[in-house]
């Protein structure tokens, strides 16, 4: 093993752990107002939207269309595995089509 490599990995590990506990630690220092709690309640939907939208709109039209299919499957069945299989399947099918 290479000592510099291990040092870099150790730095990555410590830095990453600090980001994982940092948000919790910061917020736990203060007594949260009801407004702050409302803000934190909106974080999941906003973060998930921030993960999804750029991913779908920058991956070519097949991802956007597949995304709509996944939206339907998720809404209808609420099962993550079905949603994942639908997404992978739809993208594969669209990529086989002659256009695009």
């Amino acid at each position: 093993m290479n000592a510099i490599g291990v040092l870099a990995i150790a730095g990555m590990a410590v830095g990453t752990y600090l980001t994982r506990i940092g948000g919790y630690w910061l917020v736990s220092r203060f007594e949260l107002t009801s407004r702050a709690r409302a803000w934190l309640e909106y974080v999941p939907a906003a973060v998930l939207a921030s993960l999804v939208v750029p991913e779908l709109t920058t991956g070519g039209p097949e991802k956007l269309v597949a995304g709509m299919g996944v939206l339907f499957v998720s809404y209808r069945w609420g099962n993550i595995l079905y949603s994942m299989l639908a997404g992978i399947g739809l993208v594969l099918v669209f990529r086989q089509l002659p256009f695009g």
């Binding site: 093993m1 510099i4 490599g5 291990v6 870099a8 990995i9 150790a10 730095g11 990555m12 830095g15 990453t16 752990y17 600090l18 980001t19 994982r20 506990i21 948000g23 630690w25 910061l26 917020v27 736990s28 949260l32 407004r35 803000w39 934190l40 909106y42 974080v43 999941p44 939907a45 906003a46 973060v47 998930l48 939207a49 921030s50 993960l51 999804v52 939208v53 750029p54 991913e55 779908l56 920058t58 991956g59 991802k63 597949a66 995304g67 996944v70 499957v73 998720s74 809404y75 609420g78 993550i80 595995l81 949603s83 994942m84 639908a86 997404g87 992978i88 399947g89 993208v91 990529r95």
Partner: protein, 240 residues
């Protein structure tokens, strides 16, 4: 017995909750596994050794940051840029763990900071979805995180040994796996009309930010903008 409501609330960290989180994470663990294999395959093509690659997956356990640093792994190794890049890609964790605070603050400190080691996007999304459906056991996140951790580390090992089978995930449509998981989780946390503004503003701002900025800044910026927009909407009288 020293009962009291606080003591009962503190005990919301059970083996049952751990098992629920583990069991319900099987789909996301499959998605993470495929990406772990790709990571292992790509890592083999860099100066990063086998033991170091596994060490990284075990101690860092952060897919997107690990992919990004593969590109920086050249001799001589630039340690500081690698660490800074890793932290920048992982800054979004700040928002995720902050959102857990109102729920987790009743747990014992060791459990909180131990569980947070396993925090990852997918387990967090799944846990928030379960929470919005009434889950109150903090060990749910630990169970989910542990399964994803095992999937990530074992897949790294498979990728390191299996070679070039899945070097291009787009060929198999696997690049859609995470987007599909996020959509399913978003539908799960969707709490009716009050989430429309955070979703629309978050998604829109993240899209624009992703065109301008590299890395994962768009997730932080979109997440902040969307959640704050929800608060502003409430303040302006749109509260239900």
């Amino acid at each position: 017995m020293h009962g009291g409501t606080e003591e009962i609330a503190r005990s919301q960290f059970t083996a049952d909750g751990f098992v629920r989180g583990l069991r319900e994470s099987i789909p996301i663990a499959v998605a993470v596994f495929t990406y772990g294999v790709v990571f292992g395959v790509l890592a083999r093509q860099t100066p990063l050794g086998t033991i170091e690659t596994l060490l990284m997956s075990v101690t860092v356990f952060a897919a997107s940051a690990q992919f990004v640093v593969l590109d920086l792994w050249r001799t001589p190794l630039a340690v500081i840029p690698i660490v800074i890049t890793t932290v920048a890609v992982n800054l979004r964790h700040l928002l995720l763990s902050a959102a857990l605070e109102p729920w987790f603050s009743r747990l014992k400190r060791g459990r909180i900071y131990g569980t947070l080691f396993f925090l990852n996007d997918e387990s967090w999304g799944l846990t928030m979805r379960a929470h919005s459906d009434g889950e109150t056991d903090g060990a749910y996140l630990l169970g989910s995180g542990c399964l994803v951790f095992v999937a990530w580390v074992s897949a790294t090992g498979v990728g390191l040994t299996a070679g070039g089978l899945i070097s291009d995930p787009t060929r198999f449509g696997l690049d859609m796996a995470f987007a599909a998981v996020y959509i399913a989780l978003l539908v799960g946390v969707w709490d009716g009309r009050s989430d429309a503004v955070p979703v629309a503003v978050g998604g829109g701002v993240a899209l624009v930010a992703s065109m301008v900025l590299a890395g994962s800044w768009h997730i932080i910026i979109g997440g902040l903008a969307g959640s704050l927009a929800g608060v502003v909407r409430d303040e302006l009288g749109g509260h239900q």
